[in-house]
Symmetry: C2
Subunit: 458 residues, 2 copies
């Protein structure tokens, strides 16, 4: 998406309701295309994209074909990758090239970057030369970089200009973006030296030189910066737009907040899905494809589960003599897993928001260990009571309680250490921490509980 | 935060580096306050807030006191609740009231809403009457509502005005916000009927009536709307600002994208922390407070763990005869937990982005079940081979493989059904789904595996 939104008044825009989706589905089922087209006519492109995604794949395709020219090209930029690919394949390269030429450069870049190289080349070949070159240049930036995210249309003026001169220039130049929030002030070598919010320019007298306006601190973003870092800067400094510069510090584009909101969304999705070892949502994938995507993670988990089970296997003799241990051991391991997850989520979050760094990592580790020990003491008691009341065996109850204490303390420590170490080694702690921590808590839980039992009960 | 950012050029603004934090810490340790103040002088309020948070609580307080008047009041709006409360307590109500009077209304509302009622009242009493009334009115809106989020300063003009008239009004009216993105057009009863981006006004000729400009579709937000819903609207429609209206549809305030970015951040934090049953980050809390916050969730998990353990207890006799079952049973349950989490994260995410609704819930459930069955078939084989190679027992291997199949299919089904049902019942599926699903997969896993073993092996 770009800052240039809202083409014309859409006064009758209505949000996408469950009822509307149902009505559209019936119209499609009845083959009543004029009715279906009428129903979706007032929808914002984002809502139309959502509607298409809610439909069965066949209905989706049929409706897209029936809408034809009436389909707002912007709809494509709101679709999930999976659905978009499906439609591109079904509509054919020719039609897609037509659709693409109705989009802004940054949307085209976004759309093409998710297609396969062959389709990408075919569509590029059909674009008018100036647009094609612009898109190709932007596709040359690394994936997920500021260069991919930016739009190349921006407003930059020299600092010696007056407000009036600036306004006249803006009025006289048609190829500027439709909507922008900051005017960037550049030096003679096109390096941004400051910015002025458009509203401040609008409120100043024509005779005032720009440099005398209260300038806004700008944060030039290198075109190669990762989009996650870009999102951090926007959040941290409450930016609405930021200049993107090349390696010589020259202005080459601008990133606006709406693009960053999309990045934040993507990141939130990645963080959540990574808990299940997934990289992208598979809502639109058929079962076979889903299964294929999920199996690698399950295999990794199988390995860690076997590792934990082999700890249990070490104590098979003990379990054979005191079967009750088999009943209690999943509780110790499970509680450790939960305590570890608590410590882990707090740590991962603090790393992401940069509330945790070298300055306070030591303090954090000590505090987590102390927290785990305190919780451990509570559950030593809870565990003792539970096991004693359940099985009436004091020794077993003591072993169970002590197992809880040690595992909860270890879990808290693992929950903070694992992400810190992963981060230090250059990995994303959000992705891999969870499986490491539960493996640690499982193995530790089984080992401590069954080991203590072997020492005390036999 | 509000749209009014960037007070003056801060050309020497530098980002917060680990080295800078260290230097500040040494300066504080040495009691060299002029040096510490000098080091932090160029920092953006957001970075200064981060720096304060990274310090030890005593250092934090000492530095705040040493900075005194030089502390940018905005810093307070960037602090985490816990740290803010600590500083408010230490600085005293008088000083805080001074700080607060340097902030914009929406920041004051945000800050006060997180303080205790008593402190809130004391600080309010010290504010100048017009500001106090404004803040009190906004605090009257429900927590996490659009009314709390909005700022009351906005730009609204009648639709019959000309561009020139609008510009003159903006130039002549000092009490407008410093920075704004849209000018709202209102009818005679103050109801917003459209909006124009400031950049479009700036580029139009003075003689053009506003109504002849290409108007922007606006999405009036009721003041009582939940902030999560507000964030959805901003994301969905790529908004930069939106008018907030009272129950009669009259314009009462405006919400800008930077406030919404903060809400998105909060939500991402909530979603992540809810996995550990936590509501807020406790990075700044001492161990005792952390432990207290974490115990309720651990107790809930204790109950579910005991429920799962009592399934194991039902089969104690079986385990006594075939101890190997105790080794393999955590694998079945653990794999189910992971498969359930995969299905769950995809479902929770799809519900949050509204990609899942009544229109496609049935399809999603069937597809997840099919996915689980496919994965189950794969792990029937993997499990069979593992158990056979490990223990050389064909019957045991068959039981283990079948346990895997049934539990993985059940886990996939549970992972999609639990969040769907929770959502239908009006609960936040992100919060409670995880614990339900793992309880289901644990109980099902133990029951199926040990039950099959009892039937086949004994």
């Amino acid at each position: 998406m770009s800052a240039a939104e809202g083409s014309g008044v859409e006064s009758n825009a209505r949000p996408l309701t469950d009822e509307l989706v149902e009505e559209v589905q019936s119209a499609i089922a009845a083959g009543d295309w004029p009715r279906a087209a009428e129903l979706v006519a007032g929808l914002h492109a984002a809502d139309l994209a959502d509607l298409l995604q809610l439909l069965e794949p066949e209905q989706r395709l049929a409706l897209t074909r029936a809408l034809g020219e009436r389909l707002d090209p912007e709809t494509f930029s709101y679709l999930e990758e999976e659905v978009r690919e499906e439609l591109v394949e079904a509509l054919g390269v020719e039609r897609v090239a037509e659709i693409v030429s109705g989009l802004e450069t940054d949307d085209v870049v976004d759309l093409l970057s998710e297609l396969e190289a062959e389709e990408q080349a075919e569509i590029l070949a059909r674009l008018p030369p100036p647009e094609r070159i612009a898109v190709e240049q932007q596709l040359a930036y690394p994936e997920d970089s500021a260069g991919r995210l930016m739009q190349r249309e921006f407003v930059a003026v020299p600092e010696y200009w007056l407000v009036g001169q600036t306004i006249d220039y803006l009025r006289a130049t048609p190829e500027l973006p439709d909507e922008f929030y900051d005017i960037f002030i550049v030096d003679p070598r096109m390096r941004p030296v400051g910015g002025v919010p458009v509203s401040r320019v609008l409120r100043s007298n024509r005779s005032v030189p720009l440099r005398e306006l209260r300038l806004k601190e700008i944060r030039p973003i290198p075109a190669t910066m990762d989009q996650e870092e870009v999102a951090f800067l926007f959040r941290q400094y409450g930016l609405v737009s930021a200049p993107v510069v090349d390696e010589d510090g020259r202005l080459v584009g601008v990133i606006t907040i709406d693009d960053v909101v999309d990045v934040m969304e993507e990141e939130a999705e990645e963080d959540l899905l990574s808990l299940g070892g997934l990289h992208e949502t598979d809502v639109y994938a058929p079962p076979l494809k889903r299964a294929k995507r999920r199996i690698p993670w399950l295999l990794v988990n199988m390995v860690t589960a076997v590792a934990a089970a082999s700890v249990v296997a070490m104590f098979e003799d003990t379990i054979a003599r005191v079967t009750t241990l088999a009943v209690l051991m999943p509780i110790v391991a499970g509680m450790g897993g939960n305590a570890g997850t608590q410590s882990l989520t707090v740590t991962v979050r603090a790393l992401a928001t940069r509330e945790l760094g070298p300055a306070n990592a030591g303090r954090m580790i000590l505090r987590e260990l102390a927290t785990g020990a305190l919780n451990g003491l509570v559950f030593l008691l809870v565990g003792f009571l539970l096991a004693f009341l359940w099985f009436g065996d004091t020794q077993l109850a003591i072993v169970f309680g002590c197992g809880m204490l040690i595992n909860l303390a270890g879990a808290a420590l693992g929950g903070v250490l694992v992400p810190l170490v992963l981060e230090r080694l250059g990995f994303d702690p959000a992705v891999a921490s969870s499986i490491f921590v539960t493996t640690v808590t499982d193995m530790l839980g089984f080992f401590v509980f069954l080991g203590l039992a072997t020492l005390v009960l036999l």
